[in-house]
């Protein structure tokens, strides 16, 4: 397939996952922060925005600016609106490759965004709605596209973004000072019931962290996302190689995965920040490696008689 299209697909996967992830994180933290006394809100807003890597345009750390930057700011590629817009624009550029059902669900989601109120209550609603819409989009991707190369690039983007998102989610908990409950974090990851069924409701920092970081079967755990990414990278370039590696992205993801999977720590909480940093760095580097390997742009000399 065309490199340009592969790149679009990779980013559709990332942005769809990002819209979903940001909606989940915003939902749970907005609920918590709006319940805090006004004086304590600013510090929490500041912390969440830092973890999500956004800054208020006017330097004012308030609930209003958090909602704006994470939900409504179309120019910010971390906001729900910005991610949906970017996903849709990428899909528009790859429209002949993606299925029409998938394109249509993304496109109508993009248009549907305008029908929501932009206050706190409207934002709760939009978070919920986004999560639902993204589930539809994912369903369309799974069931209306062949699981060929184009699907692999989509899924690769999604897997990398998911690992990144869950690590941010864990950050928002681990740096929390104001008793953030594990129930809401697990709800946020959509894994509350799944957790209860494996750990019988023992909410220790240890068990919940372990679940979101290391569980081999829960799809939103970091380990699961990295394993998926690695499998897809193998699928993109199958063939036995006796020694070494050709694919940088696979090396990076593989390293990150094994260091999680086989790391033995007596105190998981103590090493959590290190793990999360590693995961985020791996996600960023792998994304770059995929880009330079598969999406290489024509930087070679093209002939232009006129001025560019």
């Amino acid at each position: 397939m065309l490199s340009r299209i592969a790149e679009s697909l990779f980013w559709i996967g990332r942005y769809v996952e990002r819209a979903d992830g940001v909606a989940r994180i915003l939902d749970v933290h907005l609920e918590r922060i709006t319940q805090l006394p006004v004086g304590e809100q600013e510090a929490e807003v500041r912390r969440i925005m830092a973890v999500m890597g956004v800054e208020p345009g006017d330097g004012d750390y308030s609930v209003r600016s958090m909602i704006h930057e994470l939900a409504w700011n179309k120019d910010c590629l971390t906001s729900i609106s910005g991610s949906l817009h970017a996903a849709r624009e990428n899909a528009r550029r790859a429209r002949e490759t993606v299925s029409s059902a998938m394109w249509e669900s993304l496109n109508s989601t993009y248009y549907g965004l305008g029908q929501h109120r932009r206050d706190v209550v409207g934002t709760f609603r939009v978070c919920h709605w986004t999560i639902e819409r993204m589930a539809t989009v994912r369903g369309q991707i799974q069931m209306t596209m062949s699981h060929d190369e184009s699907w692999m690039f989509l899924s690769l983007g999604a897997a990398i973004e998911r690992a990144d998102m869950t690590s941010r989610l864990l950050w928002t908990r681990s740096t929390s000072t104001s008793g953030m409950s594990w129930v809401s974090i697990l709800h946020c990851a959509g894994g509350y019931e799944a957790f209860l069924r494996t750990r019988y409701g023992t909410f220790s920092d240890e068990s919940a962290t372990e679940f979101l970081l290391l569980d081999r079967l829960f799809p939103r755990s970091i380990l699961h996302a990295l394993t998926t990414a690695e499998e897809i990278l193998v699928g993109l370039e199958p063939g036995l190689q006796r020694v070494g590696f050709k694919d940088d992205a696979r090396r990076i993801i593989g390293e990150a995965r094994t260091s999680l999977e086989f790391h033995h720590a007596l105190d998981l909480i103590a090493v959590l920040p290190e793990h999360l940093n590693n995961v985020q760095a791996a996600c960023a580097n792998a994304s770059e490696a995929v880009s330079s390997k598969y999406f290489s742009h024509a930087v070679e000399a093209s002939w232009f008689g006129g001025m560019l």
């Binding site: 397939m1 528009r92 002949e96 093209s302 002939w303």
Partner: protein, 564 residues
Amino acid sequence: MSDLFENYATDMAVAAAYDEMFTADQRVRPGYDQVGGVLDDLSLSDVNTRADSMARSFLDRGVTFDFAGEERPFPLDIVPRVITAGEWDVIERGVKQRVRALECFLDDVYGEQRVVADGIVPKALITSSAHFHRAVWGFRPAGGVRIHVAGIDVIRDQAGVFRVLEDNVRVPSGVSYVIENRRAMTKGLPEAFMSQPIRAVEAYPRHLYKALRATAPEAAEDPTVVVLTPGVFNSAYFEHTLLAGLMGVELVEGRDLVVRGDKVYMRTTDGEQRVDVIYKRIDDEFVDPLHFRSDSALGCSGLVNAARAGNVTIANAIGNGVADDKLTYSYVPDLIRYYLDEEPVLPNVDTYRLEEDEARAWVLEHLDELVVKPVDGSGGKGLVIGPQATEAELEELRAKVLADPRGWIAQPVLQLSTVPTFAEGEFSPRHVDLRPFAVNSGDEVYVLPGGLTRVAMQKGSLIVNSSQGGGSKDTWVLGQPQTQDLDPGQAPPPDVDSSVHTWPVSASWQDEGDSGQQQQQQQQQQQQQQDVARPGASGTTAAPTAASTTASTTATRTGEGPTC
């Protein structure tokens, strides 16, 4: 007729044109009775709701055109335009004839130019055309076809006669709306599809793909076809994605292509892959910076040389513009006689060539009665309608014509035929034209039944271009489906298997006559009853009674279930 047609007769008298649905004495013409019956049964709110839902589905599906950087849904009117089988037969033959003649003309122009030697057209017609490209003179394109896709614009005059208004053999667009309009209409006005056969339009992409493959360079065993688009900001981008998608081929931009050793490749994740046929949707001037505009970032250097070497088929061929030049248009009837030895099936609109002194003098005196068009324009750009123009505009036009007589033609103002159109809460006559699409594989010319009917949404307006507020209508050609409407070479459908299919079901909750289960159910319900009853002990008696009644009724119902 329903209320929605209340003012129709009056409006029709004002429009003073051939109305395709009603005769002058307000009788419904043959072909429209079914549609008329359906429209009569609709109330204003029905029509509004349906029109809204059609527009909504266009927006969701992204059936848009780019207007000043904004995506807008292409307006689709709810009333279809109907063409009877007899009328269509004429159009189809006329379009095929025209495409064949223009194909011969182009082959001649970029070859021996016999047509000039034989005195049919002046040499200046060719050499002065802005779209005659010397860079592609002197070779036949691989596959031997130059006009793979044509859109021949047809209008209907006051007498109801179909005439050709212009030929488009460079990059005719609009076919995607034909396909999408039909899709929307089957959901928007389903009643009208019942009990009358309408020719299908869905086979177009397959015919196009077949023709593109058929004209591939001979060396290519399994030719790779691509669609070349200028990119996402082009107004017809939607069409490019739709066609590429429906043909299952890659949609490439100029930057995805590279020419090495006169062979064309595209950059893929597996390295460079050879390309054999390019369905070109960009203008000639941008196609190859080596030969044409050197500042073009849309094309790919070396394409012309690759085509000349016969290593790639470019569809439509570069340089076709000389055939749809509006001055050439005035010669097409002669070209049909010259090349095909046939009389034109579809007449032209009378056209004054402003290069001829006598004609120019007459036209300049009657500018306020005529339509004057630039010869190489498209999309209605630069066109001046005399009766609607101001004195100043006419003066400006006069100066332009005098400065460059070759650049302009004049035609009488045609009252394009009208079709009922939903506007401002009622049905009202609006002017329409028709663009049938033809696909030429070299062996045969396929004409898509119907084509794109464009409609001027403004009352009285004669400008149907989408860039100037035009909309479209689904175009129905009545008649039994023909083999070419379906897949080429499709097998007849197999008989429906008459054996009874059963679904396996999970039986655990509805097994008939399983007394053990019934018992279990009743016990569960009693359990529930007791649970509810418990708070009742502390005073309220109403709740438990109600609960027990409900429980027993449910039990009875469940028990009855299997027997009915």
